[in-house]
């Protein structure tokens, strides 16, 4: 059978990087084919070539046996290729129907025929289980539903080759499960799917075949049946990767952060943190588990001085820092890896060396009085780039040109490069590949072993379970339970995240290894 899509010897050179080096890839009809690789391996370049955004320097594209050229996104859609980008291309103020018809509006006389489009959207939703209300405004939809709109958009244009660029990076675990159901249903109907990811578990769960690329080259292609996370990780990174964190028992010291009866409002002035109490001690990793939107973001912003505290207090190493300025909090020895690295953590248009000093630019040696000391700034940048393995042609490159993982490494290099008492890591590995995750986890554990108090917030329960010494479960702005990580199972934490009390969770979920042992002894 001829493959639906056949890429042969695709090569693309960028200044300083060979992004794609003679890549071959075949996609069969009704197949989910995962494209696995680290950030910056060349996955996105390849897909942009397929979508007509770049011209390959070399190589051929065959669709259903026909050699073809793709001149741009419109042409790609015409040839049946639809792309769902990681960052959605939707107009928030328009309705779902309007977004779907945008660029291809059917008219009745001079009037847009919204009804016809809405009807087709309903039909597509029914057929593929893509639940969505055609009349809803996109800005009122959750991220998961927005993604469905994107999928509908390409199906509406009759695409039968679907490319999804890291679709789960922005989803909660539940939303990801829903997406997988949808993709399986599409596969059943003969749609062929390229699924770009660096999450091994997802690839094994969803895909039929997987092609691994590293540094622009195809390393191998294999059926997922019979492949394991460890082998895929090794192919992807080029060495053995520790998928679990190894750490010794914590040596815990004094309390570093004390949060008392904290009340904080969110952006809509609704109560987000409602009387939270928390204590993190030196030398331990405190993991905050919770479904997103239960006040974690607001709690961290309140501790770091970015959000006003309505009631209650925050103490740092004995000092009261309730409603202190972000600068004062930083100077108390707090490092903060923010949740949204591009929004809060980096100035994307600035070079790497400037981003490494955005919270210490006013201090020796980076400033001499009122004057910036360029030499010192660039000097330390070289050392940090090496130490934290930031992959870049040079320190003067704007961080916007770096991949997500390397952007995160810039932030981590900056935050860990000064004496710390408390390190706050909010979703530190979101959207990163295994190699970067391993690196970041190691850094966090190292800091903990140095006697730093580490406050980790993560939507990935695996990450919390693997790293934390104690787990605080946050639900509706409060901590419902703070427990020793060894004494609870993942399922029990999951139940508590859904609003159950500790007792209910312990009674209703499988026990952890420690609990089992207690029963035996």
């Amino acid at each position: 059978m001829t493959p639906v899509l056949d890429l042969r010897n695709i090569t693309k050179q960028f200044p300083g990087v060979l992004a794609n080096d003679h890549i071959n890839l075949t996609l069969e009809e009704g197949e989910i084919h995962a494209l696995l690789g680290e950030n910056g391996a060349g996955k996105s370049t390849l897909m942009n070539i397929l979508y007509g955004l770049y011209n390959p320097d070399e190589g051929e594209i065959h669709i259903r046996g026909q050699r073809t050229q793709i001149s741009g996104p419109t042409d790609a859609i015409r040839q049946g290729i639809g792309m769902v980008h990681q960052h959605f291309m939707l107009v928030p103020v328009l309705t779902v129907t309007e977004n779907v018809m945008l660029g291809e509006e059917p008219t009745k006389g001079a009037i847009l025929d919204r009804k016809l489009v809405a009807e087709r959207i309903r039909e597509l939703s029914r057929r593929h289980g893509l639940e969505v209300d055609p009349d809803a405004r996109v800005e009122n939809l959750s991220v998961g539903v927005r993604q469905r709109v994107e999928i509908i958009k390409v199906l509406y244009r009759k695409a039968n080759i679907l490319i999804l660029d890291e679709p789960t990076a922005v989803l909660t675990p539940q939303e990801a499960d829903d997406l997988f159901e949808i993709l399986r249903s599409l596969r059943k109907q003969g749609v062929s799917i390229i699924f770009i990811s660096h999450k091994l578990r997802e690839v094994l769960e969803l895909a039929d075949r997987v092609t691994v690329i590293r540094r622009g080259r195809v390393i191998g292609e294999t059926k997922t049946a019979g492949a394991s996370q460890a082998t895929l990780a090794e192919m992807m990174v080029g060495r053995q990767v520790a998928l679990t964190v190894s750490k010794h028992a914590a040596t815990v010291g004094d309390a570093i952060v004390q949060v008392n009866n904290l009340k904080v409002l969110d952006n809509r002035l609704q109560i987000a943190v409602n009387g939270a109490d928390l204590e993190v001690r030196a030398g331990e990793i405190m993991g905050i588990a919770g479904v997103q939107g239960n006040g974690q973001t607001e709690l961290i912003e309140a501790i770091t001085g970015l959000r006003t505290v309505q009631q209650g207090s925050v103490k740092l190493a004995g000092q009261d820092v309730t409603n202190a300025s972000p600068r004062r909090v930083t100077e108390c020895g707090v490092g903060h890896i923010p949740e949204d690295r591009q929004e809060d953590g980096l100035v994307l248009s600035f070079p790497i060396y400037d981003n490494l000093i955005i919270n210490s630019y006013y201090r020796q040696p980076y400033a001499k009085g009122l004057v910036v000391n360029q030499k010192a700034i660039e000097g330390q940048a070289g050392a940090l780039i090496e130490k934290f393995d930031i992959r870049t042609p040079g320190a003067e490159v704007p961080v916007s040109n770096l991949s997500g993982g390397n952007q995160q490494k810039v932030i981590i290099a900056r935050e860990l490069n000064r004496p710390l008492k408390l390190l706050i890591a909010n979703q530190p590995t979101r959207g990163l590949d295994v190699g970067s995750i391993e690196f970041i986890h190691k850094q966090l554990v190292e800091k903990r072993d140095d006697g730093v108090a580490v406050l980790l917030v993560s939507a990935e329960l695996d990450e919390i379970m693997g790293l934390a010494d104690r787990i605080a479960v946050m639900f509706k702005g409060k901590f419902t339970a703070i427990v020793d990580a060894k004494t609870v199972s993942k399922e029990q934490v999951g139940l508590m995240m859904a609003g159950n009390t500790l007792e209910e969770a312990l009674a209703n979920a499988p026990r952890s290894a420690v609990q089992q042992q207690e029963i035996i002894t």
Binding site: R327, T330, E343, D344, F350, V372, P398
Partner: protein, 422 residues
């Protein structure tokens, strides 16, 4: 294949500076081509508005020579007059010749007047352009140059004619300071409104323009608080507060303020790129949320940015009045505060770019006057040429397509401001 081999052999480190150089080339090439293209279109407009030329082209096949000749004559007269009025290269060469033959430097001095006047007319453009560019770098859109200029001019002129009995070395700095302080405070009101109430600076700077204009109309009406009893202008600035003119040739108004402008260009550059304050300003301009995260007091900085930007615009008015006009009348600034936005755009918000753009504006405006009197071409043609330059700079794709230029890196396009909703 050879191309591939070549690129592969160059390492990542070598490839980068080459790309950077291309960016610099583009940064100069596009404005240059924009100016040339605008002048060509201006020439076509000049031709179309001349009846004789149009007639000759309508009868092109009867007498093609005449049509071409008239075309050449028309364009060369117009642009020739402009060149003569703005720079007078022919006169200068002749003047040098006379001086070398021992005929004295009198001719040369006279021939230099147009050039001196072009530089003189550039001075307020330099200050006003810097004002807008500086605010843009901090993410603020200052459309209030008009009002800030007026306030600056009024404050310094007031000190200039009211305070008496001071020596030059004290009176002039005092008048300059009054202008600086007045315009800075005027603009800081807008900064404070943004910081503490969230009111957008675009709206408020426009409002403040109207307040400044109305205030000046009241102050300067005949018999008003700052006007003479007989005419709606201020009394003349005392000589002790004059910015000195440097030449005595009649018509040569070139003054010390030009060098002050050059110094301020350097100062703004230093402030933006070498000082910690500039680092904060550029950070707030590029990403206010990251600035807040990194401990910058964004609200306070907005007020500071507006203050500095306002005082730069104020200098445009102050220097112009203390050096050239030496009094203020109603309608003094006449749109310069808005031209300043174009200057910032043209100069890509870089102080040196703004300087270049301001020199171009001053020269074109100065030349246009001569073009009108000699060739009877309306000055509006030059306004159109300037407008076209701005269009081409704002939409560089037009120039790239026209001249088949390759696009630079994606991040090359300047981000001027976040504008609404930020």
């Amino acid at each position: 294949m050879s191309k591939k081999a070549a690129t592969q052999s160059s390492t990542a480190k070598e490839a980068h500076p080459a790309k950077k150089q291309g960016g610099v080339m583009n940064a100069i090439l596009i404005p240059l081509l924009a100016v040339i293209t605008a002048l060509i279109i201006g020439a076509i407009l000049i031709l179309v508005t001349e009846k004789t030329v149009v007639n000759a082209w309508l009868h092109f096949f009867d007498n093609p020579g005449a049509a071409l000749k008239l075309t050449w004559k028309s364009v060369s007269t117009a642009y020739g007059a402009m060149l003569e009025g703005a720079l007078n290269p022919g006169g200068i060469v002749k003047g040098i010749g006379v001086a070398l033959r021992g005929g004295g430097t009198q001719d040369l001095a006279v021939a230099m007047v147009p050039l001196a006047e072009s530089l003189t007319q550039s001075v307020p453009y330099i200050f006003a352009g810097l004002a807008v560019a500086f605010a843009f770098q901090g993410g603020l859109f200052n459309i209030g140059g008009e009002g800030q200029m007026l306030v600056g001019a009024l404050c310094s002129v007031y000190v200039g004619f009211k305070v008496t009995g001071l020596p030059w070395a004290i009176h002039l700095p005092l008048a300059l300071l009054a202008g600086l302080a007045g315009s800075a405070l005027w603009a800081m009101i807008v900064g404070a409104l943004k910081a503490y109430t969230g009111a957008h600076e675009v709206i408020n700077t426009i409002m403040m323009n109207w307040i400044a204009i109305s205030l000046s109309t009241w102050l300067l009406k005949v018999g008003g608080p700052m006007a003479r009893p007989d005419v709606p202008v201020t009394p003349p600035v005392l000589e002790s507060a004059w910015i000195p003119r440097l030449f005595t040739t009649p018509g040569n108004r070139f003054h010390l303020g030009f060098f002050l402008a050059l110094f301020v260009v350097w100062l703004v550059w230093w402030l933006l790129y070498k000082s910690t304050l500039g680092f904060q300003i550029r950070m707030v301009g590029a990403n206010p949320k990251a600035a807040k995260y990194s401990g910058v007091n964004v609200k306070r900085l907005w007020i500071i940015i507006m203050g500095i930007s306002g005082s730069l615009a104020g200098l445009a008015g102050t220097v112009q009045t203390l050096a050239v006009d030496r009094w203020v009348g109603v309608g003094f600034s006449s749109g310069m505060g808005f031209d300043a936005i174009a200057l910032a755009l043209l100069g890509k918000n870089h102080p040196v770019g703004v300087l270049m753009a301001a020199l171009l504006f001053g020269t074109l405006k100065n030349g246009a006057t001569r073009m009108q009197s000699v060739a009877q071409i309306p000055v509006d043609i030059i306004t159109i040429v300037i407008a076209l330059v701005i269009v081409f700079i704002a939409a560089p794709e037009i120039i790239r397509t026209l001249y088949r230029l390759r696009k630079g890196s994606i991040s090359e396009g300047p981000v001027f401001t976040k504008g609404w909703g930020s």
